[in-house]
Each structure stands twice: as C-alpha cells, then as structure tokens.
C-alpha cells in the first residue's frame, strides 16, 4: 500500500499536482505544480502516471513546469518517460529544469542495450556446465600434482616440513572434534543395538548382536560417520578459511614472500586429516561399541564381560585395519576437496558461500563413493564365515 510509505516531506510540503486545462482548438495545457521529488511522488505515482497518459496527441499538448517548487531526477525521469523520451515541442520550463532534462537526454544517448538473447542459450548452458566440470577435474589433478611435488621436496629437505601448521590442524580438526564424534557415535551405537535386538529376540538369536555391532560399526559405520562429521565440521572450516584468505589477498601475500601455498596451506591440512581421521575412527568406533554394549545389556541382558570376550572371536581383526585404512583415505579425500574449493573462491560473498556448500556436499559424496570402492575391493577380507 503506497500510502503507508509516505515520506515525511510530503506531509508538510505541497504534493505534486497535475492540472489539465482544455483549450478551444482540441489541445490542452498541462500545468504541473508542487514537489516533484521522489519522496513526495511515491504515494501518488499511479494517479499521476495515469493522468499523464490520458491526453490528446502529443502535438496538441503544451506542458507548463514553471509552477513546480522542486524537481529531482526521479520526478524529471517520470516526465521524460511520459514524453516518450524527448522534450515536447510546447514546453515552458525554467533553465534549471531544462538542465536536468538535458542531463537525462545525455544519459539516454549513452544507454545502449546489451546483445539480444539467443535461442540457443540453453545449449550454451549445457556447454558451460561440461566445461565447468572439466575445469574442476583439471584443477583437482593440478592440486594433487603439486602436493606430490611438495611431498618429494620435503623428503629431500625435512627441515621445511610445516610442523606447526600440521599440529595446529591436528588439534583443530582432531582433538576438538572428539566430543561431538563421541556423542554421535554413542547415540548411533545405542539405536543400532536397540533396533537389532528387537529383531534378534524374535529368532532367539540374541548372541548375534555382538557380530552385527562389531562388524557393522568397526568396518562400515564408524569410518563413514566420522568422515561425514569431519566433512561438515573441519572441511567447511578449511574451505571458508582458504576462501577468506583469498578474499583478503593473504594468499597472494604469501606467494610474494616465496611461500608455496600448497606447501604451507594445503599440505598441512591433508596430512593432519590423514593422521587424525584414523584416530577419530578408532575413538568413535570404541564409543559406539560401548553404546551398543549398554543397550544390549539393558535389552537382551548380555553381560559386558561376555560381549568383550566374544567380540574378537566373531569379528576378525582385519576389519579394524580396514576401518582405519578407510579413515586414512577419507581424511585425505575430505581435506583435498575442501582445499580445492577453498582455492576457487572468488573475492565476493556469494562465491564464498557457494564454494563452502559445494565443498561439504562433494566431500560427503566422494566419501560414500570411495566407501563403495572399498566394499568391492575388500569383499574377501575379514569376513567371519
């Protein structure tokens, strides 16, 4: 409702008015008065535009602007549009008003339309999408290559290993992630154990709860759960950090000081996650098993000691190694994806949020894909029967 947005100025100054005086020869004179400023015009915009549209052919109309108290560029633009973007032949206006109109005419001359939209815009969209994916893959391979070069360089000069950065990342993405992974792991353990127990009891196969929990959590659920949590927690933080460093030109500053960004920023993150993820997997798996144990004890009355004794007998230790290996690989995947997207951030807020989102989504998808590959490749290893 335009009236509600009434500017205060309109309340105590004369409102814009349009008076039509019909003349004998079929023509008319339009007399404008009052405040033709944006604030005063807003509440009456529709009325005035309609009034200016309902008039005889332009050649018979004369416009009188001399009674206008103040006119700003918004008011002048409104008139200009009503005139069909040219000064009317019959116009009385003050020199200042003519000045405003001539500025508008100048701006009009400069205004060019962009190239017309083609019918094949969609085809171009598809092509752009394909090129985008290709560029992502190329950049990712380039990043991997540079990390391998850095690794080779560091083997020759171990003094330059960025230890402080690595351990800072270990602390941030590992130690600080322990509470949340423990909480989630414990709850998942309880839920999984509870639901399985309900089914197993029907068959009198209570003891198999140990097999199900042991195999499911150690081999599959623990690593994937941790990877998803770390991708959301540390992966997004890494992307945002690198992105902001790009926005504030910190990365360029590093480069001019001769510090390799891959060596100082990317490599520590990848190494830190490769180191902490297996440990987090171990930690979360243990907590999840404890949760499962508690639930199994309450639901099926299976003692803690019995659970402990049975676990190594029914779950071969190879499963633990598979779980830890998955953690190692997932850690590298999450960190690489996070850094890849972080380095692609362009200096604006939109790009930062888009890349952080992509980073988390792609990292989780990649983890699930890699997990499937693991499942196929290790199908003959560590199965109890």
């Amino acid at each position: 409702m335009p009236g509600r947005r009434n500017n205060i100025r309109a309340a105590n100054l004369p409102a814009p008015e349009l008076l039509v005086r019909t003349q004998g020869d079929g023509g008319c004179e339009l007399i404008l008065s009052g405040e033709w400023t944006l604030g005063a015009l807003l509440p009456r915009l529709g009325t005035l535009a309609r009034a200016m549209a309902e008039r005889p052919p332009a050649a018979l109309v004369s416009w009188n602007c001399l009674a206008i108290a103040t006119i700003d560029s918004a008011g002048a633009m409104l008139l200009w549009r009503a005139w069909g973007r040219a000064l009317p032949t019959l116009l009385s206006a003050s020199p200042e008003q003519l000045g405003i109109f001539s500025r508008i005419a100048d701006a009009d001359r400069e205004d060019e339309q962009g190239p017309p939209r083609s019918k094949f815009e969609w085809l171009r969209g598809v092509g752009d999408g394909v090129m985008q994916i290709a560029r992502h893959l190329l950049d990712f391979i380039e990043l991997l290559g540079r990390l391998l070069q850095d690794g080779a360089y560091l083997l020759r000069r171990p003094g330059e290993i960025p230890q402080r950065e690595i351990f800072a990342n270990v602390y941030k993405s590992g130690v600080l992630a322990m509470p949340v992974t423990a909480l989630v792991g414990f709850l998942i353990g309880i839920v999984l154990s509870y639901l399985s127990a309900l089914q197993l009891r029907n068959f009198g196969a209570d003891v198999y709860i140990v097999n199900i929990l042991g195999l499911g959590i150690i081999r599959e659920l623990g690593p994937v759960l941790v990877a998803v949590l770390v991708a959301g927690r540390s992966g997004s933080a890494m992307t945002a950090q690198l992105g902001v460093m790009r926005v504030t030109e910190e990365i360029d500053a590093l480069a001019t000081m001769g510090v390799s960004r891959s060596l100082r920023l990317v490599l520590p993150k990848v190494l830190a996650l490769a180191l902490t993820m297996p440990l987090l997997v171990l930690w979360t798996t243990a907590i999840a098993l404890i949760g499962g144990m508690v639930s199994a004890h309450l639901q099926l009355d299976i003692g803690y000691g019995f659970f402990f004794d049975l676990l190594p007998k029914v779950v071969p230790v190879a499963n633990l190694w598979i779980g830890l290996a998955k953690g190692f690989v997932f850690g590298i995947v999450v960190a690489l994806v996070a850094c890849h997207f972080g380095l692609r951030v362009r200096p604006n807020t939109e790009s930062l949020s888009a890349n952080t989102t992509s980073s988390v989504v792609i990292a989780i998808t990649a983890v699930i894909l890699v997990d499937a590959i693991f499942a196929v490749a290790s199908r003959h290893i560590g199965m109890p029967f």
């Binding site: 205060i8 060019e112 604006n348």
Partner: protein, 260 residues
C-alpha cells in the same frame, strides 16, 4: 534550518568515554568536514548520526526529528532521507553494479522496472560511469569506480543529506581530485547538505565550507577553515600546520596564517 543537531552527546565504547557532551549543528547547504585524529571517535559519531549506534547520553535530531522511536515506518522514512557513502564502498558483492544501485529503489516496492532502469542509468551517468559498467560485479571494479558506484547508490533515493566516510581514502591523488570534483559538482546540482569525515586535508580544503575538529572527547572548534586554524591547540597545529599540511594548503589562500 539545521539538518542535524547533536545535543550534549556522550558515547562510551566498553569502559572508555569516546565523547563527552558533544554539541554540533549542520545547517542546510553546509559542507561540514569532521576532522580528528585516529581513535577520536569520528566514525562513532557518524554511526550515531545514521542510526547504527545508539547514543549513551544526549540526543541527535536529523531533519528536526529523533532517529529512534515512533514506529518502524517513521524510522525507515527518516533513514531514506539521507544517503551514506561508506569508506570501502560497502557494495553488495553478490549484486552487479546495476542491481546495487537499483536495490534501494526496488526496496520502495512502488516503482516499475522501466522507471528503475532509467533512474539507475541516470545515476550512473551522474557519477560519470558508462552504461556498460552496469553489468560489472563489484569484484571487477577499480577502487575509484567502487567509490563512484557507492556514491550513485547513496544518491539513488534523492537524499537531502549526504554523509561521506573518508571519501578519498585509498584513491591515488588523480582519482581523489576527480572524485572531489564530482562530489562538488553533484552537491551544487542536487542542492545537498554534506557531512564529510576525512583525514585528508586536501579533500577537506577542497570541499568543506565549515570544519569541525573532534579531539579530547569533544568538538574543539567549529567554523570556516580560517577560523578553525586560528585556534591554538596541539592537534590543530599538527593537523593544519605540519609540513605535509602546508604543501596541501599551498594552492589555497589559507597557507601560512600564523596561529593566534
């Protein structure tokens, strides 16, 4: 008629009193320059004038009205009557130049797209940019262009009062000069009242009709440049009579009047 009236304003940031009993008036048609050392609270005072920071004590009236209270509609209507040019432009980085300038016009929710397009193009021409610049993103603009686009956005709603925070900071002397010229031309053309916060004596000397010096938590002096320069105070001596200042003032008739 005074456009801004600051009455006995005191500001506390944390435990520190930044201002105590500040009094200042900006009259219609003034170009008032607010100068002061770093940390003297120039920006805090500006933020209070545009309603980003509520004063701890005292009162600020803009266009004769208080900034706060009286309902949301009134507060919004009052804020639409002044335009602010932020130090770093504060362009919305997700919008291109056109959408940045169109944003305040669209927020009125009354104007149709054609009129908004024409008005944006007019503002672009007013700040001496070309129509093809409208499609650029803020990240693609040079420092001088960012200031011009930000100025066009500040002028979008035809304000009566324009507040400039360090308008020439970060510009090279050439661009700084041409930006000052542009502001001066627009001020005359649009009949604006201007408040200018600046460190740069060149800018102050070129634009200001009156100068207010903020130091020691209060306004030390207000008046024309020559009047303010007659006040004997270490800050004023340092600001207006240093070697650098002398060079800046060489081209004006203010150079070298001995302090009283």
């Amino acid at each position: 008629m005074n456009i801004v009236a600051i009455h006995d304003l005191s500001t506390r940031l944390g435990d520190v009193w930044v201002h105590r009993d500040v009094n200042l008036e900006i009259m219609r048609g003034d170009v008032l320059a607010l100068v002061g050392g770093s940390g003297s609270g120039k920006t805090a005072l500006l933020h209070q004038m545009i309603g980003l920071l509520a004063p701890d004590q005292g009162e600020i009236r803009v266009f004769g009205e208080p900034l706060y209270g009286g309902g949301r509609a009134r507060e919004v209507a009052l804020r639409r009557r002044f335009g602010v040019l932020f130090q770093h432009g504060a362009l919305f980085s997700a919008f291109n130049v056109f959408d940045n300038i169109a944003f305040p016009l669209r927020e009125l929710r009354v104007l149709d797209a054609g009129l908004i397009h024409d008005l944006v193009m007019l503002k672009l021409a007013m700040v001496e940019l070309l129509p093809r610049h409208a499609r650029l993103m803020p990240a693609e603009l040079s420092g001088g262009m960012i200031k011009r686009v930000a100025l066009a956005r500040a002028l979008a709603l035809e304000p009566e009062l324009l507040l400039l925070d360090e308008p020439t900071a970060g510009l090279d002397p050439d661009r700084s000069d041409s930006f000052v010229q542009l502001i001066r031309a627009l001020r005359e053309e649009l009949d604006l009242t201007v408040l200018l916060v600046s460190h740069d004596l060149d800018t102050v000397a070129a634009l200001a009709t009156r100068v207010a010096v903020l130091a020691e938590q209060r306004i030390l002096a207000v008046g024309s440049m020559a009047e303010v320069m007659r006040v004997d105070h270490p800050f004023i001596r340092n600001f207006f009579f240093s070697e650098r200042a002398r060079r800046a003032l060489e081209h004006t008739d203010l150079a070298d009047p001995a302090p009283a």
